[in-house]
């Protein structure tokens, strides 16, 4: 009995060492991470089975919805689309004007964005973390740190790109920071996630900074990871404590944080080459 237990302990310690080695290898070696990205393919059937009940339920809801309600929805969506299109025309005009003005100022060119729609896979990838799973992976060009947005604003960033699925860390994830700017006063700050069911926090703001309840915080684009100008959060509470040099600011995310079915993946690329050559031409003309 004693001998068998000793050998069992030896067996266990082998597996403990194996796990520790795997964790360290995954932490330090990109090759190991690559291998596990490929291995994530075996999760696809499991996630398919797990999401089956909710997808079937959703399909049935679509079938059971009365026709007149569908017609009403359709009319409302059409109207909404028209309004958005009208606004978009103005936006395009403003964008071209903006690019022209930036050229005149010979400022840093704005970033161009490519957008792809990704659907949320209706599963919780990690019951421990603040993350959702999307149906696009490195096969579609998804990369680590890619910004993810929805109709409300920033959802988060891709933290683990797999082959066909990727995990997106939400902005509410603990200790994840985003450089932001108060839309009203263009005061710059960094906003941090507070964890599950807790508000976002803006840290290290001086006690007499210009920030109020109801202020919209948008990305400042400073760290280069998120594009500038996307809404992140609404300030819900501002507390100035005289005994502390910083104030405590709580905010609520503006995006739907993965409770909607679809999100957008953003690709950023600086408009460097063409704009730079344009710039030279115009400068040349000016000199002449």
């Amino acid at each position: 009995m004693n001998r068998t237990r000793n050998s069992a302990i030896r067996g266990l310690s082998l597996y403990v060492l194996l796990s520790a080695g795997l964790i360290t290898a995954h932490y330090y070696s990109p090759v190991v991470r690559q291998i596990f990205q490929f291995a994530a393919v075996i999760g696809v059937p499991v996630h398919f089975l797990a999401s089956l009940p909710s997808t079937v339920l959703e399909r049935m809801q679509g079938k059971l919805e009365p026709t007149d309600q569908l017609r009403r929805n359709y009319a409302a969506l059409r109207e909404h689309n028209l309004i958005l299109q009208a606004r978009l025309h103005r936006f395009e005009f403003l964008e071209s004007e903006n690019i022209r003005l930036r050229r005149l100022l010979s400022a840093v060119p704005a970033t161009a964005e490519k957008v792809t729609l990704a659907a949320l896979v209706a599963v919780n990838p990690d019951p421990r973390g603040q993350a959702v799973l999307i149906n696009k992976g490195s096969a579609d060009g998804v990369f680590q740190g890619q910004p993810v947005v929805d109709a409300g604003g920033i959802v988060g960033q891709v933290t683990r790109p797999g082959m066909f699925r990727s995990t997106v860390s939400l902005v509410t994830r603990e200790n994840q920071g985003i450089p932001v700017q108060v839309a009203r006063s263009s005061l710059r700050a960094v906003i941090y996630g507070g964890g599950r069911n807790r508000p976002l926090r803006v840290l290290y703001l001086d006690r007499n900074s210009d920030i109020r309840t109801g202020d919209l915080l948008v990305t400042s684009g400073l760290a280069g990871r998120y594009p500038a100008g996307y809404p992140v959060a609404l300030v819900t509470a501002v507390e100035r404590n005289l005994s502390e040099s910083f104030m405590s600011v709580a905010a609520e995310p503006t995006s739907h944080l993965g409770s909607e079915r679809e999100v957008l993946l953003l690709w950023l690329s600086a408009l460097d080459q063409p704009v730079a050559s344009d710039l030279l031409d115009s400068e040349g003309e000016l000199v002449d």
Partner: protein, 159 residues
């Protein structure tokens, strides 16, 4: 006896699918780890045939399916099955409520290991959610026990 070994495998796959089931935010923290419960059951029932290495591989599959840190669940499941094997012969004689307490302890140790790995890797201790899941898991044990015993009798896998 040899030909019915697909039954434990099938229950394991069902547990894995249950593990990956979608859950809305307030519910998410309360869902127990079904894979651990199924592993504990089969270890108690067939301690000689449940190997630590098998548990380790199951844990690795859970790691991959959950997009977690590879090795974390593998380690915790290996320790879980090792402890369950040590206790198995004793626990089999216990009434169900005492078994539930043992299961609570085992799940607690697993949660402790996972929290510790999280702490070492990311430096933050996760909240109370994992501990509520441990308690819910222990409460679910009688149901899991009853269902899997039926499955074991159907498969004629016995002591």
């Amino acid at each position: 006896m040899q030909r019915r070994t697909w039954v434990p495998v099938a229950t394991g796959i069902v547990a894995l699918v249950f593990f990956a089931l979608p859950a809305e935010e307030p519910l998410r923290g309360f869902l127990p780890d079904w894979v651990s419960l199924v592993l504990i059951y089969w270890t108690f029932a067939l301690p000689a045939r449940m190997m630590v290495g098998m548990a380790w591989s199951v844990g690795l599959v859970v790691d991959i399916v959950s997009f977690g840190l590879p090795g974390a669940y593998a380690l915790s499941k290996a320790v879980l099955v090792y402890l369950a094997r040590v206790l198995a012969l004793r626990v089999r004689a216990y009434p169900l409520w005492q078994q539930t307490i043992v299961v609570l302890g085992l799940l607690g140790i697993e949660a402790l290991i996972l929290s510790l790995i999280d702490f070492i890797v990311s430096g933050d201790l996760t909240g109370l959610q994992r501990w509520t899941a441990v308690v819910v898991g222990a409460l679910a044990w009688p149901v899991v026990y009853w269902i899997l015993r039926r499955a074991r009798h159907l498969a004629r896998l016995g002591h």
